[in-house]
Structures are given as structure tokens and as C-alpha cells.
Amino acid sequence: MSQLVIQDLHVAIGDKPVVKGVSLTINQGEVHAIMGPNGTGKSTLAKAIAGHPDYTVTAGEVRLDDRPLLEMEPDERARAGLFLAFQYPSEIPGVTIANFLRAALQARLGESAELDATGYYKKLYEKMDLLKIDRKFTSRAVNEGFSGGEKKRCEILQMALLEPRFALMDETDSGLDIDALRIVADGVNKLRSSALGILLITHYQRLLNYIVPDYVHVMYDGRLVRSGGKDLALELEARGYGWLKKELAHA
């Protein structure tokens, strides 16, 4: 079984410390949710683990099993089994989803081997059927002119095909109406398996009604200040984040 281990991670944007010592271990098969008010460093945590160049890790480490992720390029991290579902996925004009995913899988094979085209399309269509995505979808350019819901479904499809061991899902629910949210959540639930560990980042509890986490962590001012089971999310929903702020201010 694989493990994603985050150890005392500190991340800065420019000179400004944003993540101030986060430790968390995720086992394959587990779903962890990180909740918290806006601006507390949730997305920064996800992007730093994936290797976004704007984020500087100032201390700590992240390991995928025995491999030190922070020493690797973003693409090496992805090939090692990490996946980041973006809050705001980029458009890639002129590149179809089918070609993009094919290139991503080819990149995993290296230069010596050629991806089997028939096998690729078979697998792609299987995943699309699983996620109830129309076949025409993959002939569109990646995220170009997509609605919020389409962008998120595109992320889930990529995740399904690339079969990561760990997925970081950054505000997957943002900008979705309730129908789109349900569709995306259904997709994630179908991908849940003992082979996939998920770190779900969200501002709202409502996503967790559809994707029920094994663990919930509350992030505040760059730190995880509470951890618990799925009930913690309900408590937050009932009481808001205000009481936390007060309690932490007193502590």
C-alpha cells in the first residue's frame, strides 16, 4: 500500500508564508477532506505538493512512499502517481482532450515505446462510459469554451484515465450548481477504490454530502487545527468557522 506523507510543510508565495507547518499522512484508499475559510492556505498546499512554480517550499517534506516529491519536477511527480484536479483548469487551444490524454499517457511510456492507439481509445471510452460522458466530448479542445461543470468533468475524466495513486482535488465544487456538483461527485465516487487516495479541498460542507470522507481536517491560518471523522464537517456546517477563530484566538 502506498502512502502520501506530508511532513511539517511550510510554503510561501513570494516572501509571504502561507502554509505554516502542515503534517498529514494519506493512505491509498482513504479520502481526506480539508476544509477551512478562504485564504487559509488550502489551495496553496495542493499546488505546492504538485510543484507549481509560484509556490516556494521553505521547510518540510512530502514523500510518495520513499520518493521525495519536492525534489522532482511537476511532471515527474505526476508520473510517480500524483494528480492535481485544478480549481481553474487551463485552456489548451487546438489540442483535443483525446490527444492531450494520449500525450499524457505516452509521456508515461517514455520515448522507446509507442502507445497502442486501439487500446488507448478502448480504455478512454470505457472511462467515459463509466462517467457517463458523451463520446463527442473528447474531440473538443481542452477546456476551451467549457462551462464550469464541463471543466470539472474534464478534470475527473483525466483523473480516471491517468489512474493516479493520489489525487489532490482543489475546490472541485467551486462554481458548480447543484446538478453539476452531483454529476462531478458521482464521478469521483466511481473512481474511489483501494488504489486511490484522495485529498479533497473544499470551502463548503455540501460537497461532503456527496463525497463522504473518511477523515476531515480543518485548516486555519496555514495550519491543520482540527482533525476528525466525517462528523466534524457537520459540526462546522452547523456552527460555521467563527467559533474556531475565537477558540484559536483564546488558545
Partner: protein, 479 residues
């Protein structure tokens, strides 16, 4: 030169259109030339060429007049790159050949030249998908052949040197009429020392089903290649012509200065596809223009990769009512390269339509320039032009310039111009990297996506190769 033969064969096997990959073109076999006009340019050079080719007196006169024009015209550095001043016309060899008569079978082609074209994959392509091939080696064609089925339709496809002898009546009628000697300094130079190139005549009502192809190979150092191509497509006929070019990489500069004239008679269609992949020491200064008669259509698909400096604006003179002209151009300027490309559309009849789509990519310190001329005069009615030029910058020090000159006078015309400059964003690259693509692969994919809608218009054999070439060019562009 540096590549092993094994590498060449491997590339050849997977590549239907070889010679596009720069490493594939970068080799040279020693060849013995029986004809050499020596170094430098004078009347004596022209006499030498004319005698070697045993030309008719009018051609010799034509050359001598052109030389005067060439010498009288200044370099166009008041608008074009001053890098032109680095061409030393006295250090160039203007005519190098083993002989003047191209062979009709590859078996007859001398071994030292044949192995070059084999390595570039030309005989193989010919078997696979071409109606005819001409293979020019330095100044003259080494091989020229047309499939029997096509020649039986009355189609003439010959090396220009040959056609001047065998079909002077058609040749002379159109030669220098679309692009006069004095059009510019380099058209004058070509008119003085031209050698090789293709001559095509398609008789009325014939649609040539497969493309005709010419391959221009520069092999010698300090050399200038000056092919002259003339394509005449008679009423209601159609032809597609493709040209490819490579040269080995020398430390000194090489000059390539072609003149290409197209004539599409009433209702005819010409599609002219260029994929140039010159080594980065080549000055590529080419004049290309077509004359479209009533309801005729001329389409230039022009892909410029490689060279040190390319100056080329394929054009169409829309002379007949409802004639259509189109230029689709892709330019990729890498470090140390300047692609100064674009299009010219001269509307000279009512209801004529022209379309220009230009996409350029600047990598590293590469520079891409778009120059477009669209002219619709006052006395015409119902003309349309649509111009679209998009530039993609890869690095922060890459450069692009756009100089559109659109003159539309009179009423009842429609002209549209759109231009955009975009940059491959760090965010987009990170997004692709987070899916497992390396930074270079991500760049390649972004560039391929940028030109994708244009590449789809290429014949399949070329589009696959173009994608491979872009991948190769982008490999060195990061980190």
C-alpha cells in the same frame, strides 16, 4: 555529416516526407561536379551557365539584362533586415552540376547523388503517393519523372531547363510575366542565374489526382540555388504541387533565391504547398506569385521552418472576375532566425475574394515578422478580403512584428482584419506538466495546438511530419 547511416534509415522508414526533420537533412556526401561556374557573379558567369545549358539566344539576353537590373537595384534594407548586407555575392558559387539532363529512373542517377535522395526518402514517397517527382541537386535536377497515367493525360512535368528546350512556345509565353525581372533585387538575381526548378502544364479539363513534388537539395558550400518554377494550369484543370527543401549545416552562409510563377486560367485550381526546412545558415529570399483568371483559385500553403533569414510573401493577382486567392502560412523562428513572411493579394477584378491566415511562432530569440499587402482599388465591386494573423511567443525575449497594409478603396467591398499575439503561459505549462508531460512536451503540444487548424489543411503525409518537426524544434527551447 554527423549522423550515422543507421539513423538516417530509421528516420526514413517512419517518415513519409523526409528531409523535414533537420537532423535528417544535415548530412553531405562528396560529389564531383563536371560543371562549375566558379565563384562570384559577372557576365562571364551567365555566359558559362548559358553555354553549359546550350540555351537559345533569347534566354542569354534575358539573363544579361537581368544582371544589369540586379546590379542597379539596392538591397531593400530600408524596410527589410540589415542582415541582407551579410550576403557576400562575390563569394557565392552560382552554378554547380554534374550534367544538365535529369534521369528518368533512379537506377540511372549517379550513385553519389542517388544516396542523398534515398536518405531523404524521395524514391519511397514517389512510390507511395506522388504523381511525379523532380529532385534537384544544387543547380540541376538529377531525376525527373512523371507517372505514365498522368503524362498520358497530356500533363507536362519537367525540369525548367529541359522545358525551355522542349516546350519553348508555352514557357516563353508566361515566363517572367507574373513576376517581372525588376520586381525586386532577388527576382532580378534569379532571372540572371536561374537554373532548375519545375515546369508544369496541365491541359484543359484535367484534374491531376495525386500531387506532383519537387525536392530541392543544396549540397555544396558557399553555393546559391536559384530554381525557377513555372506552373500553368489550363481552363477547368486542377493540380497540387508540393516542394520540400533541405541543406546541410555549413559554417558559411548559403543562398537560396527562387522565383515561382503560377498561372491559373479560367476555372483552374492550383494548390502549392511548401515545407521548407533549411539549415540555419541559409538566406532564403524567394518571390512567389500567382495569376488567377476568371473563377480560378490559387492557394499557397507555406510552411517556413529553419533558415537564417527568410523573406517571402506568396501572392495572388486576382485578375479575373470571381477569382479566389488564399495564403496559409506557418512560420517558426527559433534562436538566431528571422522569418519575415506574409502574403500579397492584389484584387484586379470584380467579386474577387482573398483570404490570408498567418500563424507564427517565435522561440527563444527568434523573430517572426508578418507583412501583408491587400489592395482593392476604387473601380472594383464586391471584393472581399479576410486577413487573420496570430503570433505565439514562447519565451519572454521572443519577438514578433506585424505590418499589415490593407488598402480598400470604393464602396461595396468587405475587408476584415484580425490579429492576435499570445504567449504560452506558465499556468498552461504547469497544467500540462501536472498530467505528466515534460516541459518540452508541453511546449510542443501548445505550439501544435496553436497551428492545428492550419496543419489540418495539409495533406496527411505532410501534417504528420510537420508535427514531428515542431516537436524537434521545441525540444531545445526550454531549460
Amino acid at each position: 555529416m554527423t549522423d550515422s547511416d543507421n539513423h538516417g534509415n530509421a528516420a526514413l522508414a517512419e517518415s513519409p516526407v523526409a528531409g523535414i526533420d533537420q537532423s535528417v537533412g544535415d548530412f553531405k556526401y562528396d560529389v564531383k561536379y563536371d560543371f562549375d561556374a566558379g565563384t562570384g557573379l559577372s557576365e562571364r558567369t551567365l555566359h558559362y551557365i548559358s553555354e553549359a545549358k546550350q540555351e537559345a539566344p533569347w534566354i542569354r539576353e534575358f539573363r544579361l539584362n537581368a544582371l544589369k537590373t540586379f546590379l542597379a537595384k539596392p538591397l531593400p534594407t530600408h524596410w527589410a533586415s540589415r542582415d541582407l548586407e551579410n550576403i557576400n555575392f562575390d563569394k557565392i558559387r552560382y552554378y554547380l552540376a554534374q550534367g544538365q539532363k535529369p534521369k528518368r529512373t533512379w537506377d540511372e542517377v549517379p550513385a553519389d547523388i542517388k544516396k542523398t535522395f534515398e536518405r531523404l526518402g524521395i524514391p519511397e514517397q514517389e512510390r507511395k503517393f506522388l504523381a511525379g517527382v523532380e529532385a534537384q541537386f544544387d543547380s540541376e535536377a538529377a531525376y525527373s519523372n512523371i507517372k505514365e497515367a498522368v503524362s498520358k493525360q497530356g500533363v507536362i512535368f519537367l525540369n525548367s531547363s529541359e522545358a525551355l528546350k522542349t516546350h519553348p512556345e508555352i514557357f516563353r509565353k508566361w515566363f517572367g510575366k507574373v513576376i517581372p525581372t525588376s520586381d525586386n533585387k532577388f527576382s532580378a538575381l534569379n532571372s540572371a542565374v536561374f537554373s532548375g526548378g519545375s515546369f508544369i502544364y496541365v491541359p484543359p479539363g484535367v484534374k491531376v489526382s495525386h500531387p506532383l513534388q519537387a525536392y530541392f537539395r543544396i549540397n555544396a558550400e558557399n553555393f546559391g540555388q536559384f530554381e525557377r518554377t513555372l506552373i500553368i494550369v489550363d481552363e477547368g484543370s486542377e493540380v497540387t504541387y508540393m516542394e520540400g527543401c533541405t541543406a546541410p549545416k555549413f559554417s558559411t552562409s548559403t543562398l537560396h533565391s527562387a522565383v515561382v510563377e503560377l498561372v491559373a486560367l479560367k476555372g483552374a485550381k492550383i494548390q502549392y504547398i511548401t515545407v521548407q526546412n533549411w539549415a540555419p545558415n541559409v538566406f532564403n529570399l524567394v518571390t512567389k506569385r500567382g495569376l488567377a483568371h476568371e473563377e480560378a483559385e490559387i492557394k499557397w500553403i507555406d510552411c517556413n521552418i529553419g533558415s537564417r533569414l527568410t523573406i517571402k510573401y506568396p501572392g495572388v493577382v486576382l485578375r479575373g472576375r470571381k477569382a479566389r486567392g488564399e495564403v496559409i502560412s506557418i512560420a517558426l523562428a527559433n534562436d538566431g532566425q528571422h522569418q519575415d513572411t506574409g502574403a500579397k493579394m492584389v484584387h484586379a477584378a470584380d467579386e474577387t475574394t482573398s483570404t490570408i491566415v498567418s500563424k507564427s511562432i517565435s522561440v527563444g530569440q527568434g523573430r517572426a515578422t508578418y507583412r501583408g499587402l491587400v489592395h482593392i482599388p476604387r473601380h472594383l465591386k464586391g471584393c472581399k478580403n479576410n486577413t487573420e494573423c496570430d503570433a505565439l511567443l514562447i519565451n519572454t525575449n521572443s519577438r514578433t512584428d506585424t505590418y499589415p497594409a490593407i488598402t480598400v478603396r470604393g464602396q461595396d467591398h468587405a475587408a476584415q482584419h484580425e490579429a492576435s499575439v499570445s504567449k504560452v503561459s506558465e499556468e498552461m505549462i504547469f497544467y500540462m506538466q501536472s498530467r505528466g508531460l515534460t516541459e518540452a512536451q508541453a511546449m510542443s503540444l501548445a505550439v501544435n495546438g496553436f497551428v492545428n487548424d492550419l496543419v489540418r489543411q495539409f495533406p496527411m503525409e505532410y501534417s504528420v511530419e510537420l508535427k514531428r518537426l515542431i516537436d524537434l524544434e521545441m525540444e531545445g527551447s526550454v531549460g
